[in-house]
Amino acid sequence: MLKYERKEIADLGIDESVKRLTPEKITKTINNVLKGTGARLKAYLDTCIHCGLCAEACHYYLSHGKNPTYSPVAKVKLTLWEMVKNKGNVSPDFIAQCSRIAYTECNRCRRCSLYCPYGIDIWYLIALVRRICLLLKVVPQYEMDTNYSHAATLNMMWLKQDDWIDTVQWQEEEVRMEYKTARIPFDKEGAEVMYTPIAPEPKFKPQLLAATAKIMHAAGVDWTMPSFDGWDNSDISMHVADFETMSRVERKHFEAAFKLKVKRIVMCE
């Protein structure tokens, strides 16, 4: 029997949220999510032969002295399999455990799937767990905050439009101290490419925008960035499994490219 033992870590997003859960809410949410999975989930659960070949692929498992509870198969067994087996009747504490496993002990790096003899997409199974935790609002606080930033501002760092424009123009000035004809062209219709950073660039490392401008200048690229929403190509909502927000963010990103009539998007990440 696998026993999930970890050092306790306080996180309001998990600890406080589970207090608000009721057994009915948990069961209803899990079953709603599982209902929508169709044959894929069933095929994965039925084909896994518990061989454990995925274990050696996981950096968490290798780094914890081959502790079996860090193997990908265990991460599924300790979360989704229990939910399926119990038809969604699991405790709030169990949901807290699921949230911790799905959000902090898996990077969706997909290395495990390379070693699975059946090619089971283990990430998909972890993502289902994340989706259930998200709908129950049991998500690590910082990560949920990032998701709310996407929902409210369409970028991941709570940047307002004027912060964004100001930062880019400041970096443009810096570049032009050295290269007088270099530009960071906002909203240039019909440019060859639209370049989009992720919000931590203007927020924490604005000099990276200047570096990009210098490279574009050296290569003589006809480029542009949007001054309006859609300039951030990151989408943490996808990782949080808030697919509704994820889609809004990405649609805005694509729409910015349509509006500027560019040929393609170059994303820093």
Binding site: I9, D11, H59, Y60, L62, S63, H64, Y103, T104, E105, C106, N107, R108, C109, R111, L114, P140, Q141, Y142, E143, T146, E178, Y179, K180, T181, V193, Y195, I198, P200, E201, L208, A211, T212, K214, I215, H217, A218, A219, G220, V221, D235, I236, M238, H239, V240, F243, M246, S247, V249, E250, R251, F254, A257, F258, V262, R264, I265, M267, C268, E269
Partner: protein, 159 residues
């Protein structure tokens, strides 16, 4: 994933990672490499672009174009280890930092074995994740964002 949620069969416009764009610029001679990094370097291969999007050769092309001595980590390519920051894990914030540090001894040892003092990171997540690992495991190296290195090697117009 989002295009499907939006009811599109695929993304409505071509999008590429900046590494591929810079690779094209170097390949087509639009960016001229006029000096190379002499120190031995190693690199991190981001899961999203290497394992999932197959950019291994593109990254190799850039690394070898700008560095004289590239030391491959083992395993590498699509079998390389994750930096432990991606997939939203670094976004879980400070309370979970030690989960990341203790959870990726494998990466730290892999990097230490290369003997390089520079790790090129072509991804912001990897960059932050690996810098944290370097500090935690006291590795004698530092992480450098790939575009910073590229900038040191290209010809810039004189003005």
């Amino acid at each position: 994933m989002a295009p499907q949620w939006l009811g599109w069969k695929q993304a409505p416009i071509e999008y590429i990672h900046a590494t591929k764009f810079y690779y094209e610029l170097i390949r087509d001679g639009r960016l001229k490499i006029i000096r190379k990094i002499k120190e031995p370097v190693t690199y991190q291969e981001p899961c999203n672009i290497v394992r999932n999007a197959g950019y291994k050769e593109i990254l190799q092309y850039i690394f070898h174009a700008i560095c004289e001595n590239v030391i491959d980590p083992h395993p590498n390519g699509m079998h390389n280890y994750c930096c432990i920051a991606g997939g939203g894990v670094i976004n879980c914030g400070p309370p979970w930092k030690m989960v990341r540090m203790e959870g990726n001894r494998a990466k730290a040892e892999q990097l230490r074995e290369t003997g390089a003092h520079i790790v090129i990171t072509p991804c912001h997540n990897c960059h932050s994740g690996i810098e944290d690992l370097i500090k935690h495991y006291k590795l004698d190296m530092h992480a450098v964002f790939y575009s910073d290195l590229l900038l040191q090697c290209i010809e810039l117009p004189k003005e």
